[in-house]
Amino acid sequence: MSEAVLPRRNTISRLWNDKESRAVIVQIIATLLIFGFFAYLIRNAAINLEAIGKGYSFDFLTQPSNYDINQHFIEYTSRSSHLRAMSVGIINTLLVAVCGLVLATIVGFALGVMRLSRNWLTNKLAYVYIEYVRNVPLLLHILLVHGIIVHTLPVPKQAITVSDTAFLTNRGFYTPKPVFEPLFWVVGGLIVAGILFSLWFTRYAKKVQDQTGNHYPVFWINLGAIVGLPLVMYFLLGNPITWDTPELQGFNFKGGMVLRPEFIALWLALSLYTASFIGEIVRAGITAVSWGQTEASYALGINRGRTLNLVVIPQALRVIVPPLTSQYLNLTKNSSLAIAIGYMDIVATIGGISLNQTGREMECMTIVLLLYLTMSLLISAAMNWYNKRIKLVER
């Protein structure tokens, strides 16, 4: 690659010294190298698998799984297929991820606000919490919370009870389960209608405000439509929900709903860990909006609540959302640590028991990797869409 001094050079070096043709050559070489590398890996795998007489086939997915899973939200028995077991795992992963996202966001925003509090104690308490939690590995938090639940909560016979309907034990938190009678669906329909109405009404109110400056109490009207009317209807129909309360029978509580210790431990640990990061993000986001904005808003006679709503938060969100996205992604991916305490998520079902009982390492790991990749891409896409929506509209 030395500087061209002589006027005449052979063709190869001429191609190499030309910017355009060099770009093509470099890319062809890179492609060949990378594909060659992959081909080499696949060749190795083929030879190695051949040597021990294994194939690469996903047929096992339709075979009965033969194992039981304690937490399943879709019909599942040990006769169900591995595919079904995988679906149970996916649902469990999604459940803990979604619950985690919600709790982490709430606690995280609370922590962020606490960090900005003028109360010295509140501020320092949040600071100590954030620094402790985020500087200790998540796995440790999960094991610790699980250990506390399993070792310090009472056994079912001595359950801590809340008015004999909900029970807290080291086997989980048992609550009554609502059983919906047919009439309840009227109420359900009303709630859906309320949501649709409020979506339309919010837009309508904004349009009216933009055009005339008239301001509706949007929040209260929407609340009335989504909660108020259905509530009135619920009582008019005569409480069309009955509650299935858990009862101690033999070894365990029967009936009702249960949050198992594995779920609670994973959920709490994931949320509280991620919340400490979100807290810092929120604090940074709010401090990024200059105080002048708030002052300007006050000067225009806009009240405190609306200043926060219309001036500070929209601008803070722009700073908050991108790092928040990566925290959401982290939380979802970190839910795979479930395997340490035996929560039956994707890794524990298809990537764990199925893998081991069938010996299909390649196939199972491929599935697990693809599933996580899909989830990550979906979350990224959703957050990118949201980010675009709240982005500053530049003229």
Partner: protein
């Protein structure tokens, strides 16, 4: 700089092992060490003692193979594995042989690509429960929480048993025996289920063993044996005949103490002579020397000695020979003859 370069080269190359294509026996002999996959710790079968030395019934078989192949029962690297990782460790080449209270099944043999060695322990799956639960039979378990090691046949047996008897239960999946003990003693689950031998071992490790009992039902056949990878029959033969030699030694009255003496010269019993290499060199057929069986027996004794020293009635586990008695004593332990 040159020194650093060569140091780096040495460091990296010692992490990558090129194994000759020839076969496991040659690899093991070239390495001078047998990689034996065992459990992460099951008292009596395989567990490190205070000084980090592995002891137990399965460990005894590992040492016997090492003694036969390498001439020294201490030249074993023990690779602890969970129920889930054991076969992967074997198939990936990390382990040469596996002795990890592993049940022989058709799918493991054919689909997981293992070759099983002769059965060295006839077991069955049982349940352990607290005495104060007031349960006497496994059919009264409706609604119970059951701790179970994932990736084992016990997991599958349990699902079958519960389904056939229409019992509802909550499976609590755990990874290792230690976690099982921890969860069971914290009363996270009412029962712990695994092979009866494993239950005996687990129970002995609990704070108050007398507060726990093992239910009478044995819900499965669990023939436990060692295993090697598919595709190396010579190596499988060595494992197979070392196990057989240990079992036959008991029948012939050869013990750790007298094996050396009996191998000094040929005696009257041709079976003993063939086993101990004083007549017709059987070792050579296996690719070993004539003294292979002598060393295997000297490493930990014959079957009776291995059993009694590690898991027998006088140990904390207190297991009876039962099915595992020699066929001459009413058991089903019956090894093919060396001839």
């Amino acid at each position: 700089m040159k020194l650093i370069k060569s140091a780096a080269l040495v460091a990296v190359s010692s992490l990558i092992t090129m194994t000759a294509q020839a076969g496991t026996l040659e690899d093991v002999q070239a390495r001078g060490e047998l990689n034996c996959v065992v459990t992460t710790g099951l008292a009596g079968f395989a567990a490190p003692d205070e000084n980090g030395r592995w002891e137990g019934f399965d460990v005894g078989f590992c040492r016997a193979v090492a003694a036969a192949v390498l001439g020294d029962g201490e030249k074993v690297k023990f690779i602890p594995s969970t129920g889930k990782t054991r076969f992967t460790l074997l198939n990936s080449g990390d382990g040469d042989i596996l002795f990890r209270n592993t049940t022989e099944t058709l799918s493991r043999d054919a689909d997981l690509k293992l070759t099983f060695l002769p059965i060295n322990y006839y077991d069955g799956q049982g349940f352990m429960i607290r005495k104060d639960a007031g349960i006497t039979s496994a059919t009264q378990l409706d609604g119970a929480s059951v701790c179970i090691q994932t990736g084992t046949t016990t997991e599958l047996n349990l699902a079958d048993f519960m389904r056939i008897n229409s019992i509802n239960y909550e499976p609590v999946a755990i990874e290792t025996n230690e976690e099982g003990i921890s969860n069971y003693s914290a009363n996270r689950c009412d029962l712990y289920t695994t092979d009866a031998s494993g239950l005996a071992s687990t129970r002995a490790a609990l704070e108050d063993p007398s507060a726990h009992m093992i239910l009478p039902e044995i819900i499965s056949k669990e023939p436990l044996g060692g295993a090697v990878r598919h595709g190396d029959d010579e190596w499988a033969d060595i494992g197979k005949w070392v196990v057989n030699a240990i079992i036959i030694a008991e029948e012939l009255g050869i013990t750790q103490a007298n094996a050396g003496e009996m191998a000094m010269e040929a005696g009257d019993n041709p079976s003993i002579n063939r086993l101990l290499g004083t007549e017709s060199n059987m070792g050579e057929m296996l690719g070993l020397d004539a003294q292979w069986a002598v060393r295997a027996i000297q490493a930990g004794g014959n079957y009776a000695e291995l059993f009694n020293n590690n898991i027998g009635p006088d140990t904390p586990l207190g297991l009876e020979r039962g099915l595992n008695a020699s066929w001459r004593d009413g058991g089903i332990l019956y090894a093919a003859p060396i001839r």
